[in-house]
Subunit: 164 residues, 2 copies
């Protein structure tokens, strides 16, 4: 149930299996390869895959500045659905940091993964607190950013293969 | 794992079973009887007991003013643990309302229910975003308020009995 004025949505058919998309999102050794559009990199990733568990990343800019992100998983349906938010810290604790230069908005993200032929129908829904946050996220390049990251996910997981 | 400067905690041994405490918290027809220290009343209660499900109440002041609360369940362990937050709306959507006169702070609440003899060790932990919110909640009478509500819970469930 999306709300157009508050949500950003990326929907794509990709040519990797739901199982590989799931691995890409839930294993740090994979996620680091694709999560941040190059030349940015993801230099740290911590995943505790249970409701209330930590989802933490550190993104590094081409200039070498680090941008930490701390969130908490909310719903986990293996190979189908992943939900997390940065409004809560691990253990569902209200996030302590204030929105600032490194965190201009907060959101809950829902990744939906559905079988589609031999590939996957991939839907990312990002829900914001207000219209201003949604607009800021869109202006920062949500569609390009999440789209490029998804391209990187597909390339990495295709190379890595089912055996991983 | 509590953080003293951010959390408020009420811990009590009560003389009703864990199962009755659970019913009191999870069934609207019970919750309305005890949730708000009298002469305040709880005039509406909506419960969808699953992660992401709605927890909504309306409290009415003695003067007849209504104060709505909207939140979302996060973790549900029957007869043992209940977690919800008002930082998120149903479906884990970031809460849209701004803190204001009706909502001076936001929180995640954890209710722990443990068997203790024929009764229950009852622990309510309320986690806040910052020290100021914790203090405001304490100054509004957290301990008296939640303690009185618990007294009302015990009285109501004792009267209602195990058969409900």
């Amino acid at each position: 149930m999306t709300v157009p004025k508050l949500d950003l949505v990326l929907e794509r058919i990709v040519d990797v299996s739901p199982e590989l998309v799931w691995k890409a999102w839930t294993r740090p050794e994979h996620l680091k390869h694709w999560f941040t559009p190059r030349p940015w990199t993801t230099v740290e990733c911590e995943i505790d895959l249970r409701p209330g568990g930590i989802f933490r990343t550190v993104m590094r800019s081409p200039e070498g500045a680090d941008f930490p992100n701390l969130g908490c998983y909310l719903e986990i349906v293996a190979n189908r659905k992943l939900v997390w938010t940065d409004l809560l810290e691990p253990g569902f604790r209200p996030a302590r940091r204030e929105p600032g230069p490194n965190c201009p908005f907060r959101f809950t993200a829902v990744i939906l993964i559905e079988p589609h032929g031999s590939g996957t129908k991939y839907t990312a829904i990002v829900m914001h607190e207000d219209e201003q946050s949604r607009k800021r996220h869109e202006d920062m390049g949500f569609h390009d950013g999440w789209g490029t990251a998804l391209d990187q996910l597909v390339a990495h997981m295709t190379e890595t293969g089912e055996g991983t």
